[in-house]
């Protein structure tokens, strides 16, 4: 790397061609959340109660399980993108920032996997 200004070092290299990708995915998942979380909240409020039997019966319907799995993927994708921006804005120490970004990815992907597996288990185990 040269010792010039930041602009001088990158001039002529062209763009990375993905400058807007993060921004765009945040908007796509936001639109998805608008539909999916609204569906989820309205569905929960409309259930007669939140007992184990009622909830697992509801989640074992194929269409509900599919929508719930998409909801989980969308929610955790959106929060991963959002928390990434917050960390990048407020954590200035490079080592801490890297560590926290790794933790964020573990959290988002791990929690999403737990939730998706749980929904699948309820849906596939409904005959039992």
């Amino acid at each position: 790397m040269g010792t010039g200004t930041g602009l001088g070092r990158v001039r002529g290299l062209g763009s990375a061609k993905k400058g807007a990708h993060h921004w765009w995915m945040q908007r796509l998942t936001a639109a998805g959340n608008l539909l999916l979380v609204s569906w989820f909240v309205i569905s929960l409020v409309r259930l007669p109660n939140l007992s184990h039997a009622v909830v697992t019966d509801w989640l074992s319907s194929p269409l509900v399980a599919i929508a719930a799995i998409i909801l989980v993927a969308n929610v955790f994708w959106h929060l991963r993108l959002g928390l990434q921006v917050v960390l990048e804005d407020y954590v200035h120490n490079e080592a801490s920032k890297l560590g926290l970004l790794v933790l964020l990815n573990f959290y988002a992907i791990g929690a999403a996997a737990v939730a998706i597996f749980s929904i699948a288990k309820i849906a596939f185990g409904s005959a039992a």
Partner: protein, 145 residues
């Protein structure tokens, strides 16, 4: 990237007079972080508890409710707090969609919608929880519920 310390930074938070647009901007981040951490853990935890069987599910609900099934103080704080965060983040997200399209930047319009977002979040929370807790409220004041 290292910064040239002889050059000035743009004025930061403490130098600006607070306005509705600044409030709603930082609220969007705060509610987003709250929903992403507390909300995300409860969300995944609820599915996991439901999949782990009736006992685990009862244990999970036991953290948020009293024995009769009514909500306890932890459940109330988390539930009402997350509801407010959800509606505020949702309404401001809609405001951002409009601004992404290039509209709503005129000072008066921007201020108007920023206030509407904050007020809308509070009102929607009150309406939803008023409706959910209506039987309990009626019971407390001795009405026929």
């Amino acid at each position: 990237m290292s910064r040239n310390h002889s050059r000035p930074l743009s004025p930061h938070l403490s130098h600006w007079k607070w306005g509705a647009n600044m409030l709603v901007s930082i609220l969007h981040r705060m509610t987003g972080v709250g929903l992403a951490t507390v909300g995300g853990l409860l969300f995944a935890g609820w599915f996991f508890a439901a999949a782990s069987g009736e006992e685990s599910y009862a244990c999970f609900l036991g953290l948020l409710t009293v024995e009769s099934g009514a909500i306890n103080i932890v459940g109330a704080i988390l539930g009402i707090g997350l509801t407010w965060a959800f509606f505020t983040h949702l309404f401001n997200g809609l405001r951002h969609f409009v601004m992404d399209a290039g509209a709503g930047y005129e000072l008066q319009t921007n201020r108007h919608w920023a206030i509407a977002v904050v007020a809308g979040g509070i009102i929607a929370t009150l309406v939803l929880w008023g409706w959910l807790l209506w039987p309990a409220i009626m019971g407390l004041v001795g009405g026929e519920g």
